[in-house]
């Protein structure tokens, strides 16, 4: 979708609110290491793979942030930051700016504040997050469904129909599963749950997807209780 910067699309959001969010971005400990000022050389755009395929520009992000254009930063925080693939090819700026890392901070602020556009952008990743956080492994083989991965071509149906057989054909026993990438030990998964609990990750998820938060808490509290951590609560 084209990025429309011709009007103040979010005029209904107060300037104070936009200023508050930008202040949160600038208060981040990384800010002073990623934003130095931009002279528009365009090296970041030339290196950016997303700029080739989307109406997206790391230079616009760096410029808006450097000029402290509060309205524009808010628009970009909603309509542009999710087009970045976070590859950090833009980390070749002669002024040592990092548009990619500025975007990381902007995304985190968008998530922490529950912006609607952040929820929409992350909607499609719900099951991937559920898989990582409940099983400790990333995507699961059974995601290979014709409706989820049509870009795999016609043979994706054949793969998904016979997935259990394909997985059993893999030599390591830890891969004989279709629901997780590989088997994870109890000790590892309990430690992961505790890290996510202590670092506030669960609070972030609650702000973006309440349903996902609920089912993760269900899984985590039960397993933590089994491991003797029955005093851990996500409320």
């Amino acid at each position: 979708m084209a990025l429309d910067l011709s009007t103040n699309k979010y005029a209904d959001v107060s300037y104070e609110e936009k200023e508050r969010l930008f202040a949160e971005v600038k208060a981040d400990a990384r800010w002073n290491h990623v934003m130095y000022g931009c002279y528009e050389c365009g090296i970041c755009v030339a290196a950016c793979p997303s700029a080739r395929f989307y109406d997206f520009s790391p230079r616009v992000i760096a410029q808006a942030a450097a000029r402290e254009d509060v309205d524009l930063v808010y628009t970009l925080m909603n309509d542009s930051v999710w087009d970045c693939s976070q590859c950090f090819s833009c980390d070749r700026c002669p002024r040592q700016n990092s548009p990619g890392q500025i975007i990381t901070i902007m995304r985190e602020v968008a998530v922490k504040n529950g912006l609607k556009t952040a929820k929409q952008a992350l909607e499609g990743y719900g099951r991937i997050i559920y898989k990582i956080m409940s099983t400790g492994t990333q995507v699961s083989p059974d995601m290979l469904q014709p409706n989820a991965f049509p870009d795999w071509g016609g043979h994706v149906k054949e793969i998904s129909d016979n997935l259990e057989v394909w997985r059993k054909a893999l030599p390591p026993e830890t891969l004989h599963t279709t629901e997780t990438g590989w088997q994870i030990t109890d000790k590892t998964i309990v430690e992961l749950y505790l890290i996510w609990h202590m670092t506030g990750v669960m609070k972030l998820i609650e702000g973006v997807d309440e349903g996902l938060f609920m089912i993760l808490v269900d899984v985590m509290e039960e397993r933590l209780a089994d491991a003797g951590y029955d005093d851990v609560s996500f409320d």
Binding site: G124, D142, Q145, G211
Partner: protein, 157 residues
Amino acid sequence: MEHEKINECVIMKDLYYSVEDNTWIRVNEDGSVTVGMTDIAQNLAGPILHAKAKSAGTDRKKGKPIATVESGKWVGPVKSPISGVITEVNEKLVGDAQLINRSPYRDGWVVKMKPESLEAELKELVTGDNAVAAYKTKIEHDNIKACTHIEGSDTYE
């Protein structure tokens, strides 16, 4: 059984719905209730891979998850439309979760529950023509795409 179709999505008029959470309940003669996902919910989820219900004996407050449902890229809770104790889990879903896609209102039910305060909570759910009207509004408001039904789905003619 009397029903209505909105944008190819079926609404059974004899059930009680939590429209926001896309769940239904049927009040059984013995006072228990059967809980399931709506046709709209199965459509939004797409072909379902896993439906894991909480075990029998679990006490749940209204709005808390009674099951986790996973499709290719989506995961979400089935939120309980009422408060009560789960008395039975639909074991058929363990090996065949797409039963929810094919028969959301009949064989694809999720759990049965012993309600805690059914009379009061029924008032917060909608049924009959009110349910149809509420779903009409929701489908238009949320711009929900027309329901599709996989091979072998129940017919409602």
